[in-house]
Amino acid sequence: MSFTRFLLRRAFQGIFVVWAVVTIMFGLRALSPGDPVNLIAGQVPDQSTRDQIRQDLGLDQPMYVQYVEYLGELLQGSLGYSYNQQRSVNDIVAQHFAATVELAVAATIVAIVIAIPLGVVSATRRNQPADYGATLGSLVGISTPNFWLGLMLILLLAEAAGLFPTSGRGVALHDGVLTLITTGHAGELLTWFSHIILPAITLGTYFTALITRLTRSGMIDELGKPYVTVTEAKGLPSVLIRYKHVLRNTLIPIVTVLGLQLGTLLGGAVITEEVFNWPGLGRMFIESLRNGDWPVVQGIVLFIAIAFIVINILVDALYARLDPRVIDK
């Protein structure tokens, strides 16, 4: 099978998955309680007004007609219209996506900066206090619920010590950067930075623990390989061996996991966003669910599903390029 055919096959599979997500979400919406007319017109208007609204929105049509119309809208690139916010779902997703990406990237950076040195130290000082400490820390990190850690950080570092803001985003990153470029003032950027630290630590902790363990086991595997013995025999300094040669080889699976985890973070930061009032897709998802604003719920789920599928196809393509045997399989 050629690489192009392989990609096309993956793309078709992706389209099928998207269709399945759309259909399942539409089915859930149909089955769920909550009349959109209540959302639009409140509760008091008389029945004829309510019927009129239902008719205007096509909600009086059979479900299959609504389904086909919804698919038609999606094919034209429209994720729908929010009854509650009176604006297109595309605009809502666009408005909140940047905040989610900021948080996901910041959490990943936190994870990398802490986890990799910790994993290296843990692997190179196996069965020593540093290793025990790192392993215990990883266990605690993996076991700590996000929401609890977030609340504790707010309580201790924001509320009691006053070191960081308790919640919110302050300003958008791109606005901070723009201000820095146009006026030379870094104040807005610092505001953004002070706001993102606690949520990034909260979200990044789980991944810090995961990557520490991954780095440790990868390093231990690599350290036992003959090329390490050779480089040691050549008399290279141990720091150079560990960080230049061994770590580089260990990084391949770590980078793969990080890439996929970034996809997870894009859709899975719901709790952290809610605890810190971070204006990303996760918080908007919860708010919309709470308000029964199904078009937004559907739009966000679909958007995240597509993001996941695209990331997966890219990873598959990368693997296929690196190892052509994948195509034959």
């Binding site: 209540n38 208007p45 007004t49 009176q86 408005q95 308790t166 958008a172």
Partner: protein, 535 residues
């Protein structure tokens, strides 16, 4: 009521004679007080700016869309109400200086000639007519639920630039409560030329999406972060506020709002949970303010579904529930027992009525009268929402437990998302799926009609109780022209409603706010937060 000629004329006259009505006077007091203050530690705090954090934040920019309190709290500073409104009282002059009912179902409003919008347009009567159309005409976007508060208004026509004729069906007093609370102005010229409009709805993501005549103009708007920043409007027709900046923020997390207050990031937060009150009170820089609101919490019973079709059974439910116990046990005392559909302070409230007191023997006897025995008990399910009202699910559980004590009633409880309850509420009095549910209703117009018509009349939209006698009495109140007679009639309707027991009357919810210790503010029963009332 005949314009300014009724009993409240004295107050209006005073306001008129002072030359600067309504908000101006209160803004003056704001100007005098804000700007300096001390916190609990004696440190000076900066009060040039004020931040208010609400659990809910407007998710649309169109001021004619929603009817919820938090939405008005923000936008009333920009799109000011045309009258000054005090909870439970008739409106006083503001942008509208005087009004006169012509006696044929219409009223002429005289508006000031020196009112301009933030983006420069002159306010004319045509703007108000245009705005009213947006509010009440289902064919003119947005599909506004503000129509619920303007039920008796039929339309408006500009006679000249400063005179507007409003037509209404029903009693003049009812119309006044409605237009006094809900009439606002959007510039037609702006809407048709410069406003960011999508499908007839004002919708934008920056400060240009706002253009009112209020004392504050929007200078920064971040819908993603739920934040809107306002500054005084220099060309305001009244006294320009001295406060330099007001920020409204949205924070859905209850604990998050408390944290923001305790970390001095905000000056005022709403909906403090009873469990968090102690934490706020123990902070030397913060204080709790509370008031019994106009929001009723009750258990609706659909009277065309068994066993709720029996008046004895419905009364029995009221005798079975101990609302004092619920208030003390579930709400830590933050509630006030209900005696009737209308809360105290609202026009038509009957002060002679007492809440039902728990009497299990009487409840058991009444259930027996309704035809249910220990061997053949009534089986009912109470459906309660979670997260909509203060400790709503726990209230539902406690009430169901209390009813379940009766040997001839088996009562279960079902906790559901609010949508489910909302649907049940509009499904009609014969809907068997959910005939018994917990819901709340804020009588925000200050008139009893708003609290009862929706639930007890065929045209109400959320009718859960059908009774010809109650319905015809309500209709009579809607056309009674004399305000005093009408008030007495509404009181009788309340008495009748208490007797017929369409609801298990629980309590009026307490509004609990956390506030910067240095600020002085008296919360309002109608849940409004006006910056000019904070000093």
């Amino acid at each position: 009521m005949q314009g300014a000629d009724n009993a409240s004329a004295d107050r209006r006259t005073v306001l008129k004679l002072t030359g600067v009505a309504g908000a101006t006077a209160t803004l003056g007091s704001l100007a005098g007080c804000l700007g300096e203050g001390e916190d609990g530690n004696g440190d000076e705090i900066d009060l040039d700016s004020l931040t208010i954090t609400q659990g809910e934040f407007p998710d649309v920019e169109d001021p004619n869309d929603h009817i919820t309190g938090p939405y008005f709290n923000v936008y009333d500073h920009v799109y000011e109400p045309l009258f000054e409104v005090t909870p439970g009282e008739e409106p006083s002059p503001g942008v509208v200086t005087e009004w006169d009912h012509t006696g044929d179902g219409s009223v002429e409003l005289e508006i000031r000639d020196d009112v301009v919008f933030h983006q420069g347009q002159q306010l004319v009567a045509e703007d108000i007519a245009f705005t009213l159309d947006r509010q009440i005409d289902p064919d003119v976007p947005p599909v506004s639920d503000q129509v619920a508060g303007l039920g008796s208004l039929e339309g408006a026509e500009a006679i000249d630039e400063t005179t507007l004729e409003l037509s209404y069906s029903g009693a003049p007093q009812l119309a006044e409560f409605e237009f006094g609370n809900y009439l606002r102005a959007v510039s037609q010229e702006w809407f048709e030329s410069d406003a960011p409009v999508s499908d007839g709805v004002i919708s934008g993501d920056d400060a240009d999406a706002f253009n009112g005549t209020g004392p504050f103009q929007v200078v920064d708007y971040d819908p993603a972060q739920n934040r809107i920043v306002m500054e005084p409007f220099e060309d305001y027709w009244g006294e320009v506020p001295e406060l330099e900046e007001v920020t409204f923020e949205g924070e859905t997390s209850d604990s998050g709002r408390v944290s923001s207050l305790l970390a001095d990031e905000t000056n005022l937060i709403d909906n403090v949970l009873p469990d968090d009150v102690g934490e706020v009170e123990s902070d030397p820089d913060s204080a709790i303010e509370q008031v019994t609101s106009f929001r009723n919490i009750f258990l609706a019973m659909k009277n065309e579904v068994e066993p709720f079709d029996s008046q004895e059974f419905r009364q029995a439910m009221n005798y079975a529930v101990d609302n004092e116990d619920i208030i003390d046990g579930v709400l830590s005392g933050f509630g006030h027992p209900m005696s009737q559909p209308t809360p105290p302070g609202v026009n038509g409230y009957n002060p002679d009525l007492e809440p039902y007191e728990q009497d299990l023997d009487e409840a058991e006897r009444l259930v027996e009268d309704a035809g249910y025995t220990e061997d053949d008990p009534a089986e009912i399910t109470l459906t309660a929402p979670e997260g909509r009202y203060l400790n709503d699910a726990d209230i539902g559980r406690r009430a169901a437990d209390q009813i379940d004590q009766l040997p001839n009633v088996d009562c279960e409880v079902d906790i559901v998302p609010f949508d489910v309850v909302s649907d049940a509420n509009s499904a009609g009095p014969d809907d068997e799926e959910i005939p018994f549910f917990l819901i709340g209703w804020g009588v925000i117009t200050g008139d009893a009609d708003y609290g009862m018509f929706g639930f007890f009349h065929d045209d109400g939209g959320v009718q859960s109780f059908r009774d010809d006698e109650l319905q015809s009495e309500l209709e009579a109140t809607q056309v009674e022209e004399d305000p005093d007679t009408r008030e007495a009639m509404l009181q009788e309707v309340n008495e009748m409603a208490r007797e017929k027991a369409p609801w298990v009357f629980l309590h009026q919810q307490e509004s609990i706010y956390g506030i910067d210790e240095a600020l002085e503010w008296e919360p309002r029963e109608d849940e409004s937060v006006f910056v000019w009332e904070i000093s």
